[in-house]
Amino acid sequence: MKTNPLEVARLVAARDLRLAFRKPSQLLQPLMFFMIVATLFPLTLTPEMSRLRDAAPGVLWVGALLSSLLALEFLFRDDAQDGTLEQFALSGQSLTWMLFAKTCVHWLLTGLPLALSAPIAAMTLGVPGSAMWSVVASLALGGFALSLIGAISAGLTLGARRGGVLLSLLTLPLAVPILVYGANATQLAIAGEAIGPPMYLLGAIAVLGVTLAPLAAAAAVRIGLE
């Protein structure tokens, strides 16, 4: 009997989770990278908390963006090399749906931990404790949108030489809106204001991403397998 879509998604997700926990170092590296980037700013800018606080949204978001770019490289690469993506593409199931599941797991393993650990970095940048929930929420939502867009670029660079740099080159301009709204939400949170408007816009991008990005990623992956 043909597997139903929910079960397909569960199996795809379960496999990725199991593999990830057998190689935890790959999960932790982007996180450490993020922490190091956040540390470099006080060292290069100023140790003065009041000035760091102004720079904090930028530091957190650019750091998060760069470290999620690092993690994006692993999204499809192993699966392309060992033939797993080929089996996905030939399974008779929707590749779009399977890649969506993969992308969600990717966010769960990289974007979410990054958002959850952001308060540590934020604290060292002088962000007040009252803003922490908003920082976490904005980074989590923005990270999800970023994973969706990144999935397209990760698929597109499968067939390319020097995929790593190219992946960043493709993703960064597309990520501008996410960065703008996300950093603004963080900024408002630090100032103690409501973060509603940028969060809604970020949410709108995430919704658009959920509907369109997996389709584009599936098309990209099929091209990459040729």
Binding site: V8, V12, R18
Partner: protein
């Protein structure tokens, strides 16, 4: 049932497939032969729909395979050069996930398939630690588990010992007996009953 008509395919500068045509009925096996680089793998990948031929068509059950991709693929098992296995998972886990996304599987079915290909003894070891031949046996169990009508096998006997090569021949015979179709790229001919066999030599010009 499977009909390939006038496939032309270029890889960059090379005109790899130059108008390949053949048909295969249920219970029939097509062996693709030819030198290295003659286009055996390319043809198999084009039939599977992984490559997009510039000209020509692959038809399955009388309809274009490309137009009904998902239905076509649910009846196809493709085994490439490298067994599509995750090194960090055991053979059993690999099959559970990779075949499980195609059809609902019980653990007993997996066990039976592994036993059939002689892979049960090492099915609970991480694939990374298996020899190339052992991996191939696990992958063959995967092909069995798909219950697909059409098998597309690329050098299925690679890395297998004499026993294993015999096993592949037997598995193909059984698939044909079930009215399945097998298209296989091979270097050495397989010990198969003549009547069901068609040979197609590629790159012969």
């Amino acid at each position: 049932m499977l009909s390939v008509a006038g496939l032309h395919l270029w890889r960059g500068e090379r005109h790899v497939l130059r108008g390949v045509s053949f048909t295969a009925e249920p219970g029939q096996c097509v062996l693709l032969t030819g030198k290295n680089g003659a286009g055996k793998t390319t043809l198999l990948r084009a039939i599977a729909g992984l490559l997009d031929p510039e000209e020509g068509q692959v038809q399955w059950r009388g309809a274009a395979a490309r137009a009904n991709r998902d239905e076509f693929h649910s009846e196809v098992a493709y085994l490439g050069h490298e067994p599509p296995l995750k090194g960090d998972l055991t053979g059993r886990e690999n099959l559970h996930y990779s075949i499980g996304i195609r059809r609902t599987l019980s653990p007993d079915e997996i066990d039976a398939a592994l036993a059939r290909t002689g892979a049960r003894d090492f099915a609970d070891r991480a694939v990374r630690t298996l020899s190339a031949g052992q991996r191939r046996r696990v992958a063959l169990a995967g092909v069995l588990l798909t219950e697909a009508l059409l098998w597309l096998l690329d050098e299925p006997t690679t890395n297998l010992d004499a026993d294993g090569q015999q096993l592949v021949a037997t598995l193909i015979e059984e698939q044909l007996a079930r009215s399945g179709i097998v298209v296989a790229a091979v270097h050495h001919s397989l010990a198969l009953a003549e009547g069901r066999l068609t040979q197609l030599e590629l790159g012969a010009r």
